[in-house]
Amino acid sequence: MANQSAPIQEVSRLLDLVPFLSTHSHISLKELSAEFGISEKAMANELTALSMCGLPGYTPYELIEVFFDSGFVSINNHEALDIPRALSQLEVASLLIGLEILRDACQDREPSLVDKIDQLVEQMKNLLGGSIEVDSNEATVFRATIESAIAGRQSLNLQYLSPLKDEVSTRKVDPLSLQSERGHLYLVAFCHAAQAIRHFRLDRIIEMTTAGPSTTTTPDFADQEGALTKVGIRVMGEKRSIAESLGLSEIPVDGHLGLEVFSLQWISKAVIAHGPQIELLTPENLRGNIKDAAENILALYSS
């Protein structure tokens, strides 16, 4: 038992004493000392210090009244410090959200933790004085399944929304890794249908189930068409809307920027859709492809 405390511990204890005494009026000095783990003498000193505390003004009317001469402790005029020193509601809410997300992520990988998290969440909800419901992003749930599948070399069946084709496709994939790119999380996987590496944005995965052990030998990632490709573009139009359309945070003043894209088809469509507002500078062969594609569409208008 420490008779002397560091100043910060002493202040913390003083702040804790007020709410405790407000609900344990006339507790004996001995019990109170034991509760806070200090000697009776140290507690008497701290109670004396507490009697010097109160609201600004510091007249006897504003100070906390502490009585302990009889060996039993009580306080008055303590309302300003009645709230237990604890997390603020915002802090509790933040922790709750984090725990709910953690629970979803643990469901498949660490089921033993789920009960413990649930208990903690229930306790914290009481602190908040109300309920908080967290609808965790599907991507969070899928992430746990993907990580588990990668670790266990399992295949996955996906229902995936392709915005390019505006269709939902069902694919069997062998997951390789998770990659974060411009604020989105991607599953990098060997797609059985395409027989190539593909990138799947997690928030576009509609459904995911495990599909047994992976049976394919995955080709080298770097050789695959679905790998990141560097392209250079020049934006000549209204930068804000184009940045939004391309998922960029900003476009430099001169309009020149380099992008790393997963799909050459996507960047080609984006360039054509924006007409004269975007020029693709590199790679050169893609410039030719874009020109050809635009001419093919133009031909449809002349027939």
Partner: protein, 49 residues
Amino acid sequence: MGSSVVPYQDSMQLVREVLWAGDNAIVLAPDSLREQVIDSLKKVVAIHG
């Protein structure tokens, strides 16, 4: 290939949507919108030629 009538307010936005569809969609009418699409495509060809 089928045809459908699409209401729109922002012609630029609709041109962009049609061009996103590539050779899967063309504007049949009105002529003004067709011209906008054609003009946009010609500029893409010129820029990337």
